[in-house]
């Protein structure tokens, strides 16, 4: 049996912990052949939501080979990040579209 006064502290700790592991969703748009923001940061476990606003199909292709996501015109595609690192990626169909994603552990 814990003393009463420690309960709120425990509650804060538990709440704080669950809050810190809560994964976030980061939105990145592809519009008019531009990836925005061109530099984004996220944590392992976060979800990236690429929103293709163009009438063209695009890809988010990691130069490292870690992932290669294809998004049809006017569609949103998500990817859960599993690995930390700084990843340069581009659109295979339109190689002028480039961006960087920094994934922290």
């Amino acid at each position: 049996m814990m003393p009463r006064s420690t309960l709120p502290i425990v509650a804060v700790l538990v709440f704080g912990m669950s809050f810190s592991v809560h994964a976030e969703t980061i939105q990145i748009s592809m519009e008019n052949l531009v990836i925005s923001p061109a530099e984004a940061t996220a944590k392992v476990g976060d979800t990236i939501e690429w929103i293709n606003k163009d009438i063209f199909a695009h890809t988010a292709t990691a130069r490292s080979g870690d992932w290669d996501v294809t998004m049809p015109p006017k569609k949103t595609i998500t990817l859960v990040l599993k690995k930390a690192g700084t990843i340069d990626y581009y659109c295979r169909f339109h190689p002028n579209m480039k961006a960087t994603l920094t994934v922290t552990p």
Partner: protein, 173 residues
């Protein structure tokens, strides 16, 4: 290099002089027709390449051309429908189509690496010509804001194609 450049200039000259010969800037229905025709031509060229080539780079490039030009043309059709505009055939569209038919016939006779090189060189020249026409003639002449905006999107994507084609052509040398 000289051949490629002069082909581009000749093609562009053809594109603009045919319009200028009519003595006026092209109208929106004519611009829509020219832009759509230019897309159809590049799709046909890409389909020919897909049927003939065994080069991975050429194949990927041609697939990009079909995908992007079909997307622009679909958007163009949706727009003319929405604006209740009927695209109007004109001398520029006709000379573009005539030239393209000649080019298809010329390329049809080539095989293997020879075909790949000729296709890539023509894609560079063709996109240069179309981009030039969009920039100096079609976009400035368009009066409807939505048509102008679609042409601007087209220009941006075709400039990427031009670079991509240059890259593919250089890799074949």
């Amino acid at each position: 290099m000289f051949v490629r450049l002069s082909a581009a200039i000749a093609a562009f000259g053809l594109l603009s002089s045919a319009v200028l010969a009519q003595g006026a800037k092209p109208t929106d229905p004519q611009i829509a027709h020219i832009a759509y025709t230019a897309g159809v031509i590049d799709i046909a060229a890409a389909k020919q390449a897909l049927a003939k080539t065994s080069n991975k780079e050429i194949k990927a490039f041609a697939e990009d051309m079909v995908r992007d030009h079909e997307a622009v043309n679909k958007q163009a059709l949706d727009l003319v429908k929405k604006l209740k505009v009927t695209p109007e055939d004109n001398d520029t569209s006709r000379s573009l189509s005539k030239n393209a038919a000649d080019k298809l016939a010329e390329l049809a006779k080539l095989k293997g690496a020879e075909f790949d090189k000729a296709y890539a060189a023509n894609e560079v020249a063709y996109h240069k010509a179309v981009d030039g026409a969009l920039e100096t003639l079609l976009i400035p002449s368009a009066t409807n804001a939505e048509l102008k905006s679609l042409l601007q999107t087209g220009l941006k994507i075709f400039q990427g194609h031009e670079q991509h084609a240059e890259h593919v052509a250089a890799a074949l040398k």
